[in-house]
Symmetry: C2
Subunit: 397 residues, 2 copies
DNA sequence: TATAGTTTCCGAAACGTTTCGGATGGCATC
DNA sequence: GATGCCATCCGAAACGTTTCGGAAACTATA
């Protein structure tokens, strides 16, 4: 059982306490107005507020007080216009209007905003209208100057958004990476290759030989990595008696996955362990297995990926890899802010997900043999799930 | 069983297809530059692009073509500055950095953005830094002109953010409403009063007499409405043998709720039906009941609220009210856009949630009596869960 | 041929901020 | 008393757009 890694803090939950909000002065609160009341020039007021050294301490104090009294807030448009920076980080919303909800959207936003708020930046969400492509919207956001930097998710193997941003020289970070030759950009990703290699070793040691893999049809890089990780580990094992059946279904199509899962479970030589690229798929396997009278985990081991909340509430609880999207998103935001603050080096971070062991795994048919011959059991996956703080974020770039 | 109400549409999922992105001309793409190449005035170019009638068709065509060729995108800061509108709708992120994730955040964003994208507006997310109050941030967002309108969630019974926005005359919509005397603003809310009144009637008709209510400590309006709805219905029934035990726990504190739930279930005259203000609470009841050896639904009926994804995966599936946050969020966005487009009338919308009947409800001790004496069974809650399209959104304002 | 009306275009101001390049005055130094 | 050096302040330009109030040229009307 894994517990929620985040504490609850209700202090200040209901917004601010008393504060001076109303200022009867309904004059336009601009620098000019401030300057006039203070009988100073606009320049001086601006520089006083901006913390420049060439303004007398007394004057600065007067300005600061007057600004506070008048509830002065600088007009962001004017500031943007003259500085050329918006202060926004742009987030491309990964959904079409009719599309199913990305289960991670909330996690992304929460993680990003927690990082951004610490350095006074805000998040700007670009929505993609039905008649426009995502690239077009991205272009508009960038060219119009509404965002200084971009966060990209759902990166595909070949992603023209990435290519555009590189060509354009805009700071950006992606969650997931492309498979293109263009590799010199900042990303953060889960080490799906190693995770799936490890899970093979672990399951093999537990006596499993016939494997099923519920994968997705979309050409996402993480799909390739995870499939390869498993295949490579299987080949490295060199046991001719191991087998792997892979099925591909559209990632967000809740209907189409059912027949694929059932076909997998109805194979004459049914796998004893089925891995899934997402928890949604794994939960579907669970449901269908129950429906077909297959006992989990006695007759079938099911492994998911993502550790979505529902994984914990399923019966039995789904054994799955935990990748904290929020953690990754938070890290993305700091990477981006570092880039914006002049540290222009690109950083590429791989995070090793931890296996959360619940109730959907059990020894396979070769269990007796395995415990004797294979020492891998201890190596591949530690019994204690590592938590995020301790997780090894190995830097690659 | 309720099915996902949203279709899957993968067309165009991977971003745009080929498009002209690179323009070798690295000149600044401004109106002035455009005007110079076209040998026209800035005014004319602007008006041609803006669709004004006082520009000759031929000229307009030339301008449009040149603009497209140069990948011209108007600078949004300049536009904001002169028009005084940002084109953004502001969303106050309902979380503190250490706070637990609002389970609806993703739904909110998805719903809002789907509505906004249709009318070319973007979403701006205001994050609240640790050292600032939510009201301060809201003020800054409004005064700096970064948002033309505001979406507020998690509205409390008395909410100074609402008061501020009313006083300031900024268009805004809330999800949930206040209990203050200030009522002339636009909101959308779930009819928790009626829902809880109905559920009492339904459960009573099923033979339940002893009720438990897991409520929250936070002074949110929906808490009051739901509690009152249930109490009023119970009083209206006028049966002296009915009883109600209410417990309040912090809404997002996953630890604190456990002892409260256990205390409720350990009562000497344990309720036969426990209602919860949120699904998280209801799922906790389920878990603890299992732990204490109480059979659900045979010995205990559990009713949730919200219909979060995990509710469907629990065993048995949680019977709960479905309120589509996404649906509400989408409607909020259109309400806001209507206000921004000049239709300044405030609209207040109550949505009746539908009960999703899964496996955690069963007849109570008085079942035999009930089926004979009470006709309410048919009235209170229809057997078929209404879907959103058919749901009656009754306008109140 | 004047006159009025229409079509098409443009100059210039305005939005509110930042910042460059001085300007002013006071003070110490030679 | 001239010189240089600070400390403190300010004028004006610039950012890129929209829009008001014409202006010019052409067409239709008297």
């Amino acid at each position: 059982m894994i517990l929620s890694a985040f504490n609850v803090n209700l202090i200040g939950f209901f917004g601010a306490r008393a504060s001076t909000v109303t200022k009867a002065t309904d004059k336009k609160r601009t620098l000019k107005a401030l300057a006039e009341t203070l009988e100073l020039s606009v320049t001086t007021v601006s520089r006083a507020l901006g913390g420049y050294s060439d303004v007398a301490p007394g004057t600065r104090a007067r300005v600061l007080e007057a600004a506070a009294n008048a509830d002065y807030v600088p007009n962001s448009a004017a500031k943007m216009l003259v500085t050329g920076r918006s202060g926004f980080v742009g987030f491309m919303l990964p959904l079409r209007e009719t599309a199913v909800l990305d289960p991670f959207l909330g996690e992304y936003i929460a993680g990003l905003s927690s990082g951004l708020s610490e350095r006074g930046r805000d998040l700007f969400m670009a929505t993609v209208p039905a008649n426009q492509s995502e690239l077009t919207v991205l272009q508009h956001v960038v060219e119009s100057g509404r965002a200084d930097a971009i966060v990209l998710t759902r990166v595909a193997e070949h992603d023209e958004r990435v290519e555009y941003l590189i060509r354009r020289g805009i700071p950006f970070v992606t969650h997931g990476r492309t498979l293109s030759e263009q590799t010199d950009y900042s990303w953060i990703d889960t080490d799906g290759y190693k995770a799936f290699a490890d899970i093979f070793t672990w399951l093999y040691a537990m006596g499993h030989r016939r494997f099923g893999l519920m994968s997705i049809t979309e050409p996402m890089t993480f799909r390739t990595h995870r499939e390869e990780g498993f295949r490579d580990a299987m080949q490295a094992q060199g046991d001719a008696d191991t087998s792997l059946v892979v099925k591909h279904v559209p990632r967000f199509d809740t209907e189409a996955r059912v027949p694929a899962v059932r076909a997998m479970l109805a194979l004459e030589n049914r796998p004893t362990a089925v891995l899934s690229l997402t928890d949604e798929l794994a939960l579907c396997v669970l449901t269908q297995a129950a429906d077909m009278g297959i006992a989990v985990p006695e007759q079938l081991t099911v492994i998911g990926f993502d550790n979505i909340p529902a994984a914990d509430y399923a019966t039995p609880g789904l054994t799955t890899f935990d990748q904290s999207i929020r953690h990754a998103a938070r890290q993305m935001s700091t990477m981006l802010l570092d880039m914006l603050d002049g540290h222009t080096n690109t950083t590429q971070t791989l995070i090793m997900p931890s296996l959360v062991k619940r109730g959907t795994h059990a020894p396979g048919p070769m269990a007796a043999v395995a415990t004797v011959t294979s020492p891998h059991n201890q190596d591949a996956l530690s019994t204690e799930p590592t938590n995020y703080e301790a997780a090894s974020d190995q830097s690659v770039g």
